[in-house]
Amino acid sequence: MSTLRVWARDLGMGARFALAGGRSGWARTALTAVGVALGVVVLALAASVPSALEARAQRVEAREPVWAMDDSGPGPDTFLTAGGATEYRGEEIGGLVLQPEAGAATTAAPPPGLDAFPGPGEMVVSPALAELLDSADGRLLAERLDHERVGVIGDDGLDGPGDLYYYLGSDALAGEASRATGFGNPTFGEPLTAAMALLVLVICVGLLMPVAVFIGTAARFGGERRDRRLAALRLVGADMAMTRRIAAGESLAGSLLGLLLGVPLFLAARQYLGTLRVADLSAYPGDIVPEAGLILLVLLVVPAAALTVTLFALRGVTVEPLGVVRHAEGRPRRLVWRVVPLLLGLLLLVPLTFRFVDADDATLTQAGVGIVLLLTGATVVLPWLVERLVGALRGGPLSWQLASPGGSSWAVARRPAPSAASPSRWRRPPPSTCSSPGSAPWRPPTPARTRAATRYRSSAWTPRERRAPGPSATWRACRASSPPWGRSGARPPASPTSRPPR
């Protein structure tokens, strides 16, 4: 078989497992898919920020008046303008007073979003402003802008759905007013400022952290079943490379599902963001379009990340025909490196609480980096904290023990194991794995079996054994985490009290 076909077969087999993995397999696939989908949505939204800002900037520019030359006089297509911007309860309200110099016969194009210039004393307002004026909150503003409302400004004349803006027609402008010949003045600079980019970065990191934890947790979900499945494959002759490819196929299937799920989720999120107003920022759903290059990157990177998580998790694992050996996972989490980002983040942020008045670029950068570090730090310290807490609770409900990602390995099944390798998380499947649950073919324990179990306990798992040096830890330890066929009759006790001292 060609290499390509071998890969296709193995990845396909993995996908088959992901989709047919029974309830826990399904749960894992679904969780992975949801995690990937969330990650895709967050990143796709981030990738949309430039285009959203660009669209916004374009519309803002499109309604900037084009000033007439200093020496030009009034004409059929000129109009006078005066600023009408004001502030109401901390909200910026933009406005422009307009007076076509040819009166109703003007040939000047009206501002974007309007069909015609408003007549004298007439006012056209943005939907958001209309809403504000009609509300009880806006009563005082309505007194200030007490003009006849003749319409609303269309979307193409607004910077976003939350834009508070109005045009007022007049026939009394003179002197201070400026003469303009049209709208559309490309005067604005780079729409994505450093501060903006930092804000986006911080939000992204803040949102992606839980997503990453989520995907990581999903990857561990149903792990004991996967262990057994992979061991079963090893038994019929899959080598390590095949096994890894099959495992990769499993997580890829979840990721691809996640990508599919991400599309409707993104559309929904975009719609929702259209209703959201943060400060004076708002965006039309139609503006939130990911940049082509960025979204391509996202679509590649997110599944790749999920795949990396899987392969990384398999690095510390040897799948043997008789079971799975974990090499490093039994080690309790180390705090030291986990607090480093947290401390660095605090170090950067604490001084800022004393002086944040002049928000220059350096300050913003410091704030951004600090926040990112703080969030990262919190994310990596949290699992450690959970593990400690669960440890302190001595068992506790199973769900708590599972809550700490590596937790299941010690909470449920960790016990003194041969050499450094610790056994797989779970001992044995319910007897139903190969027989119908109803027609249990299991014989009651015979005296011989009971004896075997006792011997197993007293010999295989003595602390002395753990210290015994082993030339081939893998070979030796693989029986320790045996799948159903690994050991017959004997079943070591899986009591949480057998947790080793830490």
Binding site: G22, M240, M242, S435, P441, A468, W475, P483
Partner: protein, 237 residues
């Protein structure tokens, strides 16, 4: 893939698979203490002994899935200790089959897919693999559970599916560890009949681990393991 003709080199001692003076301890517990074993092509050998005497360990060592602390294992003239993991995996794909007490089927796959699995792993196209799998399921009288998952069938049916899977790639050695250990006697008998008949048909040697003499009765020869040592039954062979 190794060429496996009857003329292929034989292990020292004339057997297809031979182990000499195997030692294996789990910590302080000796599982094997100087066990030797030979099986010739096509032979059915029962490995008997009380529970905990080291039968399973011996079988695992013979199949190259557990490494003994010392002692040599030769299969068709090759020293298993010198083989890489990939080579030992290839042996399991092409030359060995396994039936354990229970649970060796992949619960996520249907019975037909389970049986087709070894063929798929050696690159047989899906259709062909599934056709062969169907034949084997019929041969073991479980054609009707083809589309069931292992969790949906009885223990006896499960073991038959396992036997079908173990033999589907025409292995030279079938390793059976208490294949009927979880079955009632009626089902156990039938599984043994089918297993031995199929193995004899295909000329597959069988290492049959059991502690029941009823099961051992299907063998050509019995080997008794006691305290980690294997001994041929007097008068056997």
């Amino acid at each position: 893939m190794t060429a496996q003709t009857p003329q292929s080199p034989q292990s020292p001692g004339g057997g297809l698979l031979a182990a000499t003076d195997l030692h294996k301890s789990y910590g302080a517990t000796p599982a094997l203490a100087g066990a030797s074993f030979v099986i010739r092509a096509g032979e059915v050998v029962a490995v008997m002994g009380p529970s905990g005497s080291g039968k399973s360990t011996l079988l695992h060592c013979l199949a190259g899935i557990v490494q003994p602390d010392s002692g040599g294992i030769h299969y068709a003239g090759r020293d298993l200790a010198l083989l890489s993991d990939a080579e030992r995996s290839a042996l399991r794909r092409t030359d060995f089959g396994f039936v354990f007490q229970f649970g060796q089927l992949v619960p996520e796959l249907t019975c037909a897919e389970n049986v087709a699995l070894p063929l798929r792993l050696i690159g047989t196209p899906r259709r062909e693999a599934e056709a062969t799998a169907a034949e084997w399921l019929a041969r073991l009288e479980v054609a009707d559970v083809r589309h069931h998952r292992p969790g949906q069938i009885s223990g006896g049916q499960g073991q038959r599916v396992a036997v079908a899977r173990a033999l589907v790639n025409n292995p030279r050695v079938l390793f059976a560890d208490e294949p009927t250990g979880a079955l009632d006697s009626l089902n156990g008998e039938r599984v043994m009949e089918l297993l031995v008949a199929a193995a004899r048909d295909t000329g597959t040697a069988v290492v049959l681990v059991t502690h029941e003499s009823r099961v051992a009765a299907y063998s050509d020869r019995e080997v008794v393991v006691r305290d980690g040592r294997a001994r041929d039954m007097a008068g056997a062979v």
